[in-house]
Symmetry: C2
Subunit: 876 residues, 2 copies
């Protein structure tokens, strides 16, 4: 049999069903499903996504037989409806609608009322005995076709319509007279001719062909591509096209069009929820040209239709076992369903709906767990932009840390602090942030940067702080000195207000209203269910007692990564740290280290206390030492004075320590090998803190982690050093302390030689950030200039710093897991990169059998849910 | 049987042989071998390297039974020689000598005349009837033991001796009277007591035990560790210790000591070659206290002994089938051999000896090929320091580019050029070099840098230019502005003379005489033999017609890496390149590219012509674009003027393009993807050049190589771009051109997904430099601060930028080879990193079945020979 590209639906002859959405798109598949359920839908047929894929792969041409197939389907439709396409007496009109595998609301195009021209419009008037309706449909068709198919900005048609209305001093389109509609149609058509240099196409078949092509092409608009990239939808899927006979909500006061949710999408409340508009077509509701009525009013307006609608929605919800988002049209008191799909909802709503449906017996617990998007779990902690607010988008970047924030912009951390002390809400705007900006970040509502990806400094710190952040806004240029910035063509100065949406990456003009979320009992219940199912343990990355406490509250079962370097940046300590680094002799260095020891011990004591009963993995110092050194001449001067050297000498020393590629430089365990006293001090601080707590009867399980090991010999020498320092402390205190010594696996060479390293190590923690950087040869700090283009062009399906690259980086991890377990079957394996909070990555880590993932505290609920979902998916 | 740690040698009871050098060290094994051959050697025994390894692994203690074993061996020796250790009448004296698996001349310690004390010295005088000799031996023993075992600087003893001689106004030690010797012994002993606060040990057994320990410990002196590191000898081997009965060359005019080579080590001439000294012990010859006689004179002095020596040397050469380096002692006209080993020789000598021995029927061609150290083949092209010259070493770095150079130092490329125009020989001294220094490097005799390793810019460029370079001299600090530098404590200013030895990394004060080498027929013959054996093809890395020609002359079978970026730095072009980079619009960029096209075409035309009949692999632009941009404000100003923008705007643009980790940034094929026009221009230049030559009947085989591919999608998109540009040119010219499109495999991710990439690629060229950097997470530019320490401490056995890391990087390459061949069995595989010229790496590449290696032109003979040796080793 030759390949078939079209699938019919309608009461007689329905060929599709709901699970054929890959082929028919969500819309086409669900129309077929509804038809099979006996729900009234206007009959039609769907051109499959395969035709669209063919179209793009063959220089924008249809598959050979497609047009014939469409014509033949059209004939079937004419027969069944007893109307004829292009007929002058009783014409058949169709809508041409897009439909992707997964819903991309508002992203692609639709044309309604197709088939009208100067002749058929008269036939329509005649057959419906409603000339006003026919003309109204025609003017709608011309503007919609003109916009979608011919590329004329919708505003041009709007302007003509507005002018006409203001001249007549009327408010609504429905008040236009027949004469005015006729004039409008003429004006619309001449606008088309003026702008396209061609007559408006009168041939209905030509209209149809052009519309199908336009819908195909709408798959590749800028906004559609961006939407897919942000939502991880592959560009190669393509869209289906549904060609459906028209029903009309604009046939007068017995007709209407509407949308509804079977439950409240914002809260999850079990209550039918929606809006409708009398004498209107679909786009009127969306465009907001009149205020629609709440769905309850329909019960009074058309009680029978309302009862039909209630029956239909209950049937659909029971059938799909999920909250549905419906589109319907009432044509002369007759209800037609035009679409049903799973309703988009807030996370709070998703959780409530899922739990309610378990209680209603519609879902099992496992099914309910699959219904909440793990990736959006942290939405529940963050404010969101009020969905009712009108937004003026002025920039777009990466949604680097979720949540929304509004405030006045500032361009320096100092200014941020100054204003924050005066209780101003500020947004810190920088080209990129550095460790010295942290105090400014911590007092800001949100952070906006021009450079950097999902794992840039700004993004990582913001997520750790739970602050919204939009990073990598290419159109942003900051002039911090002059306290201004440009966003594309827009100039902004200090104290101008903006709003950030760190979930989607939007930058919005002015301060828009935000909604605060709250943890609920439902959330707690959902987490408990997930806990019963998952096999991965979930830990958190936390460097402070505050973060550790938050992580524990969210359900973390330990700290998987406690970075000691952030502790070094504290204002009181940085001076000692710098002294230690630039010391010319061991004595000066050891003096500084001696002073740092009790401070570090204090840090660990607090974290261990908070995490009582759980393991805490402390990573020894990792970043290149020059990161701690001063940059400004004032700071250099002050340090030089203290060190009793000339600022010139010190400056030269600092200069000499700078590196060409610091990411690949003198850092990680390389520091511990060349400056063993630094690591010894840290180990003593950890073990002393632990021993003192154990003495007090507090259970602590320290795990000491060595960063950036590339060769087993590095791990061996550092392990010896750790053992020596630790055993000395333990010997002195006489405490029976259990502790582990393990390593990061974050270099390809470490992964390839994991069998050698496993002999020595108690645990591996995969540092997927650095492993991604080294496996790809890609600096996350520098990828901004091309990574977006890679994602746009589909060279990479995902940002590998967000979702682990399973083919490459994942293969390295798998090899290391296999090699490690081969020599030490009980070696404890986890990951502590940014990927620890990404559901797709968690799925992968579950599959390859890691013991735990560790992520930022705010991502712990995401990780818990994703870990459960991974098990459910694996089992199914 | 319990483990045995000692092995006897001597006429009666010899337990070792030559191939036991792993256990007995070269010295011990060859003494045993000579004894078995019936050559007279003073009997003794060797403590095995296993004892030394035990000693280091057990906190400097002997294996439990070792001392008893030594005592028992000593008894055997006493029996056989009829003398007694510590005996007051006829005492046995021994030497305690070090001996590693492979010769480390002068690196470790030896003690002679051991067993003497205030009492035995009288016995020795009595039994030999030679009091002067006994006392001379005693004073030698005290100073040698004092130095080697007790750690007293040899100069302290020397000073006392010199004072005594100058007081007496005598020149030679032999002129000292008995009384004077006695006084000297007293003074030596009181020096020891003064400095060690203990009496000189009189107990011969205590002396022996201390001497054995001292020889063990001499394995780990700074100089020994450095020597091993530079020569790739593992630290864990340890040394053997040979305890041998003394024979005496200082018993008067019938006694002597000497060293000899069986052929000339500098030229290979087949002529016995050596020196001896009457009435002397071994160290006198080395120390040069008297001028020794040439070996020919021995024929007159002691004709019978000379005949014995001739017989012995011929026997040894025939037995070992190699040129030998002998040590002998004549005691009262009786010849004893103390050592034989394979003689160190220049490369020219090694080649001549090997070929002569084939002609003499001693060696097969394959054996002869194994006799020339491949690593030193390029010595033959470079001047070397006259071995007779006296050197004052003032610094030590990496031998980054072989050969010696002498000249006046300058600190800027401009100054280098200025002086070179006046025919001055200059050495360029820099903290590190950058592409802008190239013109200065090209006119200098040699390059000296403070920073950077074997693959730093200075090292790579210098090797490509065939210029000596010493890099990474940690003690060097350059103040270019003030035109001076310090080397440790030494101050040098512009125009001071120094000499560099780029083979060993030595920096020498003043201008010392150099010897120029020349290619010989022997060299050509050796290369031809290697060609018959090897299976790897050898290509060269060459960016200019000059380099290509040289490579071809040396036997290269193609260009494996033609870097196009070096072409961009040419003075005439850099301006166009910069214009192209900072262009704000496509038009300006395309204009600049259009002007670059004919220039690049010219480059390729010349290289293709030179390489007629051979493949030429051209790598498309690789480095980050900001590398090409100006740094000085003058240059920025001039470019800004040309571009008609303000210098501020341009400066900002340049600033914005700088990267945190340029190695992992916007470079390689990432450039080709974001700026496709650059690659298109390059492809057009390559293919136009090739087509024009083919039309003229010249055979060219261009291979276009895509750098830094990490994901198959990158290669696909660039391949499409290449095909499009290439086919357009080919279509226009109508030439039937064969060309290939392949990729570098230089990122771990590319190696892991090589099967996906192989589907698309005609060839892989492993970029082992970048693959090493990314697999290790190690920037070659920044590794200077710790890599040396790693090598010193034995954390790494080799510098992975010199010899490929087989365990890690090699594993990645092997995986890629396997995956690539699995999907495309005939895919062409090679490497083009620095490792292509390293014999150990070539051995590995041969083993894993690559098709070719590509290295710098000067390394081509090394690679040819190493490839042959790899095959021979694999076969054996």
């Amino acid at each position: 049999m030759a390949q078939k590209y079209t699938y019919a639906f309608g009461d007689e002859n329905t060929e599709g069903k709901a699970d054929m959405n890959n082929l028919l798109g969500g819309k086409g598949a669900n129309l077929a499903e509804m038809a099979s359920l006996g729900i009234l839908v206007p009959p039609g047929f769907t051109v499959s996504t395969e035709a669209c894929v063919y179209f793009f792969n063959h220089k924008y041409t249809f598959p050979p037989k497609l047009w014939d197939e469409i014509l033949s389907r059209l004939k079937d439709l004419e027969r069944s409806l007893k109307r004829k396409f292009g007929c002058t007496e009783n014409p058949l009109l169709v809508s041409v609608r897009s439909g992707a595998r997964v819903s991309m609301p508002g992203m692609m195009d639709t044309v309604l009322n197709l088939g009208l021209n100067d002749i058929t419009v008269r036939g329509l008037a005649k057959s419906t005995k409603n000339e006003w309706f026919a003309l109204d449909s025609y003017r709608r068709f011309i503007s919609m076709f003109g916009n979608v198919v011919l590329g004329i900005p919708g505003e041009r048609f709007e302007a003509i319509l507005s002018k006409k209305k203001s001249k007549r001093q009327i408010e609504f389109d429905t008040e236009l007279t027949i004469q005015e509609l006729k004039a409008l149609i003429k004006q619309f058509k001449s606008l088309v001719t003026r702008l396209t240099h061609e007559e408006f196409p009168e041939d209905p078949l030509q209209q149809l062909r052009m519309a199908v092509e336009a819908v195909f092409n709408s798959w590749n608009t800028e906004r559609a591509r961006t939407y897919r990239r942000l939502n991880g939808i592959p560009h190669e899927w393509g869209t289906a096209v549904t060609i459906q006979s028209m029903v009309f909500g604009n046939m007068g006061d017995t007709s209407a069009t509407g949308v509804a949710f079977t439950r409240n999408p914002a809260t999850g409340e079990k209550k039918f929820y929606g809006e409708y508009m009398i004498n209107a077509q679909g786009e009127d509701v969306v465009a907001g040209i009149r205020t629609p009525h709440s769905i309850e009013k329909l019960e009074q307006d058309m009680p029978e239709v309302y009862q039909d609608l209630v029956k239909v929605y209950q049937k659909l919800e029971n059938h799909y076992k999920d909250m549905q988002d419906l589109e319907f049209t009432i044509e002369n008191q007759k209800l037609f369903l035009l679409q049903t799909r799973s309703g988009k909802r807030t996370t709070a709503s998703a959780i409530k709906v899922a739990i309610d449906m378990v209680n209603e017996g519609l879902l099992s617990k496992r099914e309910a767990l699959m219904r909440v998007p793990a990736n959006q779990m942290d939405q529940i902690f963050h404010p969101t932009i009020d969905p009712k607010a009108k937004l003026k988008l002025i920039g777009k970047g990466l949604g680097a840390s979720p949540g929304a924030a509004a405030g006045k912009i500032v361009f320096s951390p100092e200014r941020a602090q100054e204003l924050a002390e005066k209780k101003e809400k500020v947004i810190l705007v920088r080209m990129e942030t550095s460790p010295e900006d942290i105090h400014g970040m911590s007092v800001s509502q949100g952070i906006l940067t021009a450079k950097g990806g999902m794992t840039s400094h700004a993004a990582v710190v913001a997520r750790a702080m739970g602050k919204p952040c939009v990073s990598g806004v290419n159109t942003l240029d900051v002039n911090a000195k002059r306290k201004k910035c440009t966003l594309g063509n827009l100039q902004l100065k200090e104290l101008d207000s903006i709003t950030l949406d760190g979930t989607t990456g939007r930058v919005i003009k002015g301060s828009v209203p935000l909604i605060q979320s709250r943890l609920t009992n439902n959330f707690t219940k959902m987490m408990a269910w997930a806990g019963e199912v998952r096999s991965l343990q979930i830990r958190a990355n936390a460097d402070t007692p505050h973060d550790a406490l938050m992580a524990r509250d969210f359900g973390a079962q330990g700290i998987g990564l406690c970075r000691t370097e952030h502790m070094f940046f504290d204002e009181e300590r940085i001076f000692l740290v710098r002294k230690m680094i630039v010391a010319e002799d061991e004595k000066t260095r050891d003096e500084a280290l001696k002073k740092l020891l009790p401070i570090q011990r204090g840090d660990f004591t607090e974290i261990f206390k908070v995490m009582e009963g759980f393991p805490v993995t402390v990573r020894l110092l990792d970043p290149p030492l020059h990161e701690f050194l001063p940059n400004t001449s004032a700071e250099i001067k002050s340090l030089a004075k203290e060190m009793k050297v000339s600022p010139g000498t010190l400056g030269k020393k600092i200069e000499k320590m700078k590196e060409v590629n610091p990411m690949l430089g003198h850092r990680g365990c390389r520091l511990g090998i060349t400056f063993p006293n630094i690591y010894s001090m840290q180990v003593r601080a950890i073990i002393e803190a632990a021993c003192r707590l154990v003495k007090k009867g507090i259970n602590v399980f320290p795990e000491i982690m060595v960063p950036l090991v590339g060769h087993v010999s590095e791990f061996k020498i550092v392990r010896e050093l750790i053992l020596e320092a630790a055993e000395e402390v333990i010997g002195k205190t006489g405490v029976d302390l259990k502790y582990k010594i393990g390593t990061m696996i974050e270099l390809p060479r470490a992964a390839m030689t994991a069998d050698e390293i496993a002999v020595e190590a108690d645990f591996f923690s995969f540092g997927t950030n650095d492993l991604t950087q080294t496996a790809f040869g890609l600096s996350r700090d520098d990828s901004g200039s091309f990574l977006n283009e890679y994602l746009e062009k589909g060279l990479l399906a995902h940002d590998p710093f967000v979702s682990v690259d399973q083919d490459g980086v994942g293969q390295l991890i798998s090899i290391a897991v296999e090699k490690g377990r081969k020599v030490k079957p009980n070696i404890h394996l986890g990951i502590c990169g940014e990927h620890g909070g990404d559901p797709a990555s968690i799925n992968f880590f579950n599959k390859i059998g890691l013991d735990y993932v560790s992520c930022s505290p705010y991502r712990v609920p995401t990780a818990i849910l994703a870990a459960a979902q991974a098990v459910i998916q694996e089992d199914s």
